[in-house]
Structures are given as structure tokens and as C-alpha cells.
């Protein structure tokens, strides 16, 4: 079952930042594949969503980039800046608390 896209809304930045935290440096396409794999095909990050998000994170100073050439093909790596390191902790904590609140409100039993 693929999660309906509206659920991803609001969590995309957090997912991206946490992936960068866990893996040091990653390029865009790699992030989409990693998230697809981790979610067992249930979360697909579209390119139209990912790239603007990465550019926004860079503009906010939360990530920095380095460009590499693999043969002739460009590859743009992203990694967290120090302020990105702080931000990811905040974002993940907030989401964790939000999910607990939602479980309470929706009366969802632990598995």
C-alpha cells in the first residue's frame, strides 16, 4: 500500500535532513531511492518535490553542496551544516511528539 501523498506533506524536509544525518552525504536521486527502500516502496519522493526542497534547505543554510562528476554525469552531494545538525534534532523531536499526540487523539493502540 502506497501512502497517499498528503501524508508526506510537512514531513519531507524532516525525512531529507534525517537521511543526511544518517548517511553523511547524499545526492538527490540517492535520497529518493533510499527512502523508497526503507519504506518498502510505500513512500515515493517525486523529483518535483525533492529538488525544490533541497534548494530551499540550502537557501536556509541547513545543507551545503559539493558537485562531483561521475564520468560525464553531474552529481550534487548534500550534507548537513552545523545549523542543519541542530535543525534535524528539533524537527525529528517535534515530529515524534506530534505522532504521539496523534496516536492519543486518534486512539491508536500500540502494535
Amino acid at each position: 500500500m502506497i501512502y497517499s501523498s498528503e501524508l508526506i506533506k510537512g514531513t519531507l524536509k524532516t525525512i531529507v535532513l534525517q537521511q543526511l544525518k544518517q548517511n553523511g552525504k547524499m545526492y538527490g536521486y540517492e535520497i529518493t531511492q533510499k527512502v523508497k527502500e526503507l519504506s518498502k516502496e510505500r513512500i515515493s519522493i517525486t523529483e518535483g518535490a525533492l529538488y525544490p526542497t533541497l534548494h530551499a534547505l540550502e537557501a536556509e543554510g541547513l545543507v551545503q553542496t559539493e558537485t562531483e562528476f561521475i564520468g560525464k554525469r553531474i552529481r550534487k552531494y548534500y550534507r548537513l551544516t552545523p545549523s542543519g545538525e541542530n535543525k534535524v534534532l528539533e524537527k525529528v523531536n517535534e515530529l515524534a511528539e506530534f505522532m504521539n499526540t496523534m496516536k492519543f487523539i486518534l486512539d491508536i493502540k500500540p502494535v
Copy 2:
């Protein structure tokens, strides 16, 4: 701490439907107050978000309304239709699974 609004995105319909399931019938303002109370002030549903959502749920046939007068003031009660009863189960299950997937991806430890 108030949850940043982007987290609510995509979960509002589910929250509203589940409230109606738990409480039988409710009016709009009552839903905002109940959710505020349950979330310990951390989730505020704005009227600009709530009323269009309720109207959309009605247009989709998931809820039906009955209007009451309290003195001279109107009060519009919403309750689930049979198809709304099915939908709320779907939506809550999907959200529960999504949250489990997110916990896994974000490496969030159980409390």
C-alpha cells in the same frame, strides 16, 4: 509547544472523521475545542481550515448535517454516514501505518 502547522497538513480530515466517530455528532466549533483540549493546546484547528474541510466531507458523502437553533444562534451538527464509518477506519489505519514507517525511517525510539 505548538506543533508547526505543516504537520497538521494531510491529517485534518482524519482527525475530524475520528472525532465524529468517537462522539457521534459534533458541531464545528466543538471540534476545534475538543482537539485543542485533547492535544493540550498543541493543535489548533483554524476556522478557515475547518469549515471548508467539513463542507468537503459533506460533498463527498462522508458526513451528514442537522441544523439546530440554540436560542437564535445556529448550530450545525455533523455525523458520519455509513460510508464515512468505513472511511474513518481506512484513514486511521493508513495514518497509523504511516507513522510506524516514519518512526522506522527516522529511527525514532519508542518512549
